[in-house]
C-alpha cells in the first residue's frame, strides 16, 4: 500500500525526538482518529533553528511528521507557516494512499499550531 520512500522515512525518521528547553511546542490530533503529533521548535532570529517531533500514529503520520520537519528546518516562521500538505506529500515521495491524506495533513496543522503557540507566548 505504501511506497518505498514512505516506508524508508517511517523506518528511519531523522527528526524524531524532543528538544530540551524548546521555544515552542504544539500538539494536534486525538486518540479517536488514531494520530497524535507533537512538535518542538528552537527559534533563532525568526528562523527555525531546530525542529523535532513525537508522533503516536500510523505509518503515514510518522512519515509525514518527519517530512514536515525536514521542510521546516531553516525556514523563517513566515515561510514555515505557508508549507502546504501537498508539499509534505511531495517530500514523502508524492505517493500517499488516498485514505491516508488526512494523516499527512496533520503535519501542516501541527506546525502552524506550534508557531501560533510561539507567537501567543511572545505577545503575552
Amino acid at each position: 500500500m505504501y511506497s518505498k520512500k514512505v516506508i524508508e522515512r517511517f523506518e528511519n525518521p531523522k527528526f524524531v525526538g524532543e528538544i530540551k528547553n524548546p521555544d515552542a511546542v504544539g500538539e494536534v490530533g486525538n486518540m479517536k482518529c488514531g494520530d497524535v503529533m507533537k512538535i518542538y521548535l528552537k527559534i533563532e532570529k525568526g528562523k527555525i533553528k531546530n525542529i523535532k517531533f513525537k508522533t503516536y500514529g500510523c505509518i503515514a503520520a510518522i512519515s509525514a511528521s518527519d517530512a514536515m520537519c525536514e521542510l521546516a528546518k531553516g525556514k523563517t516562521l513566515k515561510q514555515a507557516e505557508k508549507i502546504t500538505h501537498e508539499e509534505i506529500i511531495e517530500k514523502m515521495g508524492g505517493d500517499v494512499p488516498q485514505i491516508k491524506i488526512h494523516c499527512s495533513v496533520l503535519g501542516t496543522r501541527a506546525l502552524r499550531k506550534t508557531i501560533e503557540n510561539y507567537k501567543n507566548e511572545k505577545n503575552k
Partner: protein, 382 residues
C-alpha cells in the same frame, strides 16, 4: 521475495493446501460439467457435488439435504438473515444479534431495519461473551431470529452456542450462527448446539475463496435470496462452483484432524505468553474460550498500524483494529464493544495462526516484537 514471509493473518484468509489444489485441478478442464446437465459430464459434476455435500454435512452432524452451497461467508450470512426475515414476517419483525458480528451480519441487519424490521444488538462482556440472560430478556413475541457469531474474527471469543441455542429453541425462535472462523477449530454440532442455520466458508480453512455453505435445518421457513435456474433445490440459484465446492470439501476433510487444533493451540499459547511479557501489553478476549489460532493484543502508547508496518519490514504479516487501518477511520467496533479505550483499540495487533505456522516462526516474532514496541514508544508523545 528474498526470504520466506511469516504469515500470521490467517483470520483474513489462508493459503490453499496443496492437496486441495490437487483435488480441484481436474474440475477446470477435464471434469468441467454443469451439474444440471443430463449427459456424462453433468452426472460427474452432480456426483462430485453430492459427495462434497455429504462431507460437509457430516462435519457438523447435519443431513446432506440441509447443506446449501453459496459463494462464501458473506452470501451465507445475507441469505440466512434476510431469508428468515422475509419468510417469517407474518410472525414478527424482530431480530436479535450482537455488537461483535462480522460486517456482513451487521450490514444485513442495518438494511433490514430500513425495510421495517427491528433489530436488537446485544452487548458483550469484557472478554467478548454474550450473556444468556440478556438474550432471554431480549426475546419477545415478535422475535423471529437470533444471529450470534460463533468464533469472533477479531478477538477469538467462542460463544456458548449450546446454552444460547437452548434459549432460542425454548422460545421457538430460529437460531443462526456465523461459524466462518470457528469451523473445524472447535466443536460445531447442529443438534447438540440447537442450531437452525450455520454459515460456513472455505477460505479460512485452506480451501479456495468464493465458496461457502449455509446449513438450514429441515423444515425451516426461509425465502431464497438468489433467484434463477432453481439450483440447490431452488434455494440458491446459479451454476454450482464445482471446483470450488470440491476444494472446500477436501479442505474440510483435512482440517477435521484434531491434531491441527492441538498444534495451533500450543503455538498460540506460547505466543500469548511471550508477548504478554512486554510491559504495557494486554490480551484482548478470553484466555480460555478462545479460537486455537487467534491472538489479539493491545500495547499502550503505540499505534497498531505502525507496529504492523515494522513487523512487515521483518517479513511478518499481521493485522490491527486501529482507526488508521479501518475504512471508516474509527477504531474497531469489536474492541470498543469489549470496553477498550480508543488508545487500547488503536494499539491493537491481531496475529492469527494456521496449521502451517511453525514454532520457529513464533520464536522469531517473540524475538523481534519487543524491540519494535520499544522503538515506537520512543516516538510516542503520550
Amino acid at each position: 521475495m528474498l526470504f520466506k514471509k511469516i504469515y500470521l493473518d490467517n483470520g483474513a484468509t489462508t493459503q490453499v493446501d496443496e492437496r486441495v489444489l490437487e483435488a480441484m485441478n481436474s474440475y477446470f478442464n477435464k471434469k468441467f460439467g454443469n451439474a444440471s446437465s443430463t449427459h456424462d459430464f453433468g452426472r460427474d459434476a452432480k456426483n462430485s457435488l453430492e459427495d462434497a455435500r455429504k462431507i460437509i454435512a457430516k462435519s457438523i452432524g447435519a443431513k446432506s439435504g440441509e447443506i446449501y452451497f453459496t459463494s462464501g461467508g458473506t452470501e451465507s450470512n445475507n441469505f440466512a438473515i434476510k431469508g428468515i426475515a422475509f419468510a417469517n414476517k407474518g410472525k414478527g419483525n424482530h431480530i436479535i444479534t450482537t455488537k461483535v458480528e462480522h460486517k456482513c451480519v451487521l450490514n444485513s441487519c442495518k438494511w433490514l431495519e430500513k425495510q421495517g424490521f427491528e433489530v436488537s444488538y446485544l452487548d458483550v462482556d469484557g472478554e467478548g461473551f454474550v450473556d444468556a440472560n440478556d438474550l432471554e430478556n431480549e426475546i419477545r413475541k415478535e422475535t423471529i431470529l437470533v444471529s450470534i457469531i460463533h468464533g469472533n474474527n477479531e478477538i477469538g471469543a467462542i460463544q456458548k452456542l449450546e446454552e444460547l441455542g437452548k434459549i432460542c429453541r425454548e422460545n421457538k425462535v430460529y437460531f443462526h450462527t456465523d461459524a466462518c472462523q470457528s469451523y473445524t477449530k472447535t466443536g460445531l454440532e447442529v443438534n447438540k448446539q440447537n442450531l437452525d442455520l450455520v454459515t460456513l466458508n472455505s477460505h479460512k480453512i485452506h480451501g479456495p475463496k468464493g465458496v461457502g455453505a449455509l446449513y438450514i435445518r429441515e423444515g425451516t421457513k426461509i425465502e431464497p435470496w438468489q433467484h434463477g435456474g432453481g439450483q440447490e433445490k431452488d434455494f440458491r440459484s446459479g451454476t454450482e462452483n464445482i471446483s470450488g465446492i470440491v476444494g472446500f470439501a477436501e479442505a474440510v476433510k483435512i482440517a477435521m484432524d484434531e491434531k491441527h487444533v492441538e498444534q495451533m493451540n500450543f503455538l498460540t499459547k506460547k505466543l500469548i505468553k511471550g508477548v504478554l511479557k512486554i510491559q504495557g501489553t494486554r490480551l484482548n478476549g478470553s484466555m480460555k474460550e478462545r479460537l486455537c489460532n487467534n491472538a489479539n493484543f493491545s500495547f499502550s502508547k503505540v499505534e497498531g498500524e505502525a507496529i504492523g508496518g515494522y513487523l512487515d519490514q521483518k517479513g511478518i504479516c499481521s493485522s490491527t483494529g486501529s482507526a488508521c487501518s479501518e475504512m471508516n477511520l474509527e477504531p474497531s467496533y469489536v474492541l470498543k464493544a469489549i470496553g477498550l479505550s480508543d488508545e487500547q483499540a488503536n494499539g491493537s495487533l491481531r496475529l492469527t495462526l494456521s496449521r502451517f505456522t511453525t514454532e520457529k516462526e513464533i520464536d522469531y516474532v517473540l524475538k523481534v516484537l519487543p524491540g519494535i514496541i520499544k522503538k515506537l514508544r520512543r516516538f510516542s508523545p503520550l
